[in-house]
Amino acid sequence: MLDVERIRRDFPILCRQVHGKPLVFLDSAASSQKPLQVLAAMEETYRQCYANVHRGVYTLSEEATCSYEEARDKVASFINARAREEIIFTRNTTESINLVAYTWGRTHIGPGDRILLTEMEHHSNIVPWQLLAQEKGAELVYLPITDEGFLDLDRLDDLLDERVKLVAFTMMSNVLGTIIPVKEIVEKAHQVGAIALVDGAQAVPHMPVDVQDLGCDFLAFSGHKMCGPTGIGVLYGREELLEEMPPFLGGGDMIRRVELDHSTWNDLPWKFEAGTPAIVEGIGLGAAVDYLTEIGMEAIAAHEQEVVAYAMERLSALPGLKIVGPPAEHRGGVIAFTFRNIHPHDLAHLLDLEGIAVRAGHHCAQPLHRRLGLVATTRASFYLYNTSEEADRLAEALEKVARIVGK
């Protein structure tokens, strides 16, 4: 059991009022709030030991380098990577996926090759592959979803053959909330010689993730969805793949030796980190990892499961409310829904007037919404600091909205 009251005291923003009502923040799937521990680590760096990292021979630079590289070790152990060299710092999940598309993709994908995606992907795990496929004459294939919001795994064997060079899929849908059986898909991908990339943006902040256990070749995730700052994300990659991949961006820090007409590359992980990195954001992410680890990812997942099950029960009792996606036991802390025929933008706006922050729209998953026959949905998402009382506030506010909008 989480001590949620204590956790909430770590997040000063949760005390604020919106439109004269206590804030109920239900949009952590888009970006989470930040605890004092993360804010303090970042402020401390700026106040006490900030300088550019790597190659500085003076104290401040050494201290900053040490903190920044320590953050990498924390991330490596958080997802149980074999080595720190497998942790590349990027800006976010999107950049991590693009890094793979531009480097591994450009050297391994050719005409007629296939990239297998799923119908529930976020745009960030679709568009980079479209760009690559257009450039290389490759083909995108999509694993369909069932009407209940699961991946149609019965179709996996049909779609997986030796033409498939990459399988890229989310570990948890940001709309349906569905938790995906990653291991099973990775194993099948490997059987046909394909590489498996997992979009961990929604999963890594919310449940234990062990890359060695999952067996995936790449895992992408963002710091800002896991109590860390914006501007820092992670690409985990298996070392032998990263070793043979060409660099992504060229510039300082990623080189060993620069001649006038050519250069040689730095060791992993810096080969993929050109230019001054997001130093303080990296240190902030390290603090976020410490924070989540101390609370425990198992406990966080269990708490979210409990709140989501309760919220689904409350919401589905409202006349005219339809939740998309599977039952609570198969999902993470995300509930997307439609309510009567109220447009999601009106709904989110009316809820905001009650102090409740939810997201409305296609949630960067237009193909999925088209598959569901919807233009947009309203999404409430929960994290370690949310409570069942907040689910009550949401349900009560929806009842009020129904009365106001009428008809």
Partner: protein, 125 residues
């Protein structure tokens, strides 16, 4: 919800839209959509030889703000000249609505105006 944009007059236009239909023989047609939220507004006008609006109607789908604004706008254009309506601005529409809208919802209120301007643009050709 004293400061709510969803006040009675707006909801009344949403639930009882004025002139929400298609004209038999429109002289001018303008249509705009917003793929992000799926809102779509079509405005049809019949104008006389002096360029005065004889008849106006709107159709489409969308949120409360865009549909209520379309209803108010169509009511407003009756009897006015095309040249006058061309000068209609964002501020005029917001005054007509009489509510405060943050930047996130502004585009909902402005979609009908864009459709109207597109219809009036067609009259130049």
């Amino acid at each position: 919800m004293a400061s709510s944009p969803y006040r009675e007059r707006v909801l009344d236009h949403y639930h009882h839209p004025r002139h929400r239909r298609r004209l038999k023989a429109p002289d001018l047609i303008g249509e705009k959509d917003n793929p992000v939220c799926g809102d779509r507004v079509r405005i049809e006008l019949r104008v006389d030889d002096e360029g005065r609006v004889l008849e106006a109607a709107f159709s489409g789908d969308g949120c409360i703000i865009s549909m209520a604004t379309a209803s108010m706008l169509v009511e407003h254009v009756y009897g006015r000249s095309v040249s006058e309506l061309r000068r209609l601005t964002q501020e005029d529409v917001l005054r007509m609505l009489g509510i405060d809208l943050g930047p996130a919802r502004l585009h909902c209120a402005l979609l009908p105006l864009e459709a109207l301007h597109s219809a009036l643009e067609a009259s130049r050709e």
